[in-house]
Symmetry: C2
Subunit: 214 residues, 2 copies
DNA sequence: GTCTATACGAAGATAGAC
DNA sequence: GTCTATCTTCGTATAGAC
């Protein structure tokens, strides 16, 4: 359900911003639209977050905290299992976390779409905001992937990792599923089926042999 | 060099818009920034294109015309060669066209970055603008890819095709290369090396076997 | 400490003069 | 074809009520 009036103003602003930034992007969302949805005053944004970008930063931090927690939990589980994790396991853990974070809550879909959008934002400062939040967890996955793929140069693993993040972002924001070439869509929304396809595609990409000119 | 004052106002507006939309995205670019760069009056946009979105549409159409021409030319060449083209050939033709269109001209980089941004725009109407322009050419590539990969369901080929378009867009807009996990960037800008890596990754993705639950 | 009311300059859009 | 004038809405800043 939508955030009730009794919730603290700060939280209502975060919830409304997450939903509206997810739907229309950062630049196209006016502060007044956010404050109206949150039943708050325009100036409340400036008070709690300093500026529109400060509000965005706070939404990113809250959203990534949930993702980072789950990704570290899954990585820990993979490491305590017998032997070091393979690339397929790592890709699955990384992708499904992004695809399912916040699933039970009603706002989960907004959270996922929001994060997908942030990765594609034109402003480099905004993308860096995201980059700073994933940095620690991505370091862990990157070294685990490098260990799982010793035949590839680290730069090549890093490139494929970036492709994974990018493609996952397009999946989350709906960009990958809502413009329809070929056969008609036939499945409404991003079902578990799409997550499976994405995981399979990315696993194949990681396990591909090195391109000749490394 | 920048468009000279002697060029027609319409063309100067298109050039300036392409460059500025490429750099800051659509929503974050003010019309006044465009008209200042084009040395034109604010109202000239409304006169020539009807609205800000009309200007965007015109820029998309001009940019896609160049890409579509080259893609059809390459596909024609592949088809007249001995035997039907393989997935690797098709991916290479599709990707390198996007990566090199407008190369000789100074504005080529802007054109590519602009098209990459359009694919990731939050507004579905803008993405549909792009979708309508690629539609005919993408139909040709899609059927050629489906013929080259008879062991895959058409829906699966279409999914991988969308992933290719999305990943190419991220490549073009710089999203894939400018946030740096792992080793430091080491190569400035999107060199021919990155195009090679992208082509190899996408070819592997297309040639991967079908996921079990088709 | 939290929040509201309100003002300021710049933005997108359009009507009508030239 | 091109420009000036004007309307509404945008992000931001300030002053003060609770």
């Amino acid at each position: 359900m939508p955030t009730s009036r009794s919730t603290a103003t700060r939280t209502r602003l975060l919830d409304a911003a997450e939903r509206l930034f997810a739907e229309h992007g950062f630049a196209a969302t006016s502060l007044r639209t956010v404050t109206d949805a949150a039943e708050a005053n325009v100036a409340a944004v400036n008070y709690h977050f300093g500026s529109k970008e400060g509000l965005l930063r706070a939404v990113v931090e809250r959203a990534m905290a949930a993702v980072n927690r789950e990704r570290m939990r899954l990585l820990g589980a993979l490491r305590t299992a017998a032997g070091p994790p393979g690339a397929a396991d790592l890709v699955r853990a990384f992708v499904t976390t992004g695809a399912h974070v916040g699933d039970p809550e009603a706002g989960g879909a907004d959270l996922r779409r929001f994060l997908g959008r942030v990765v594609c934002e034109p402003d480099p400062a905004i993308r860096r905001l995201f980059g700073a939040e994933v940095a620690p967890v991505e370091g862990e996955y990157l070294s685990a992937l490098t260990a799982a793929l010793p035949h590839l140069a680290p730069a090549e693993v890093a490139y494929r990792y970036r492709a994974m993040v990018g493609l996952l972002a397009l999946h989350q924001s709906g960009t990958l599923t809502d413009f329809h070439p070929g056969p008609p869509p036939e499945d409404p929304g991003a079902g578990a089926d799409d997550v499976e396809r994405l995981t399979a595609l990315l696993t194949a990409a990681f396990e591909a042999p090195a391109s000749e000119k490394t």
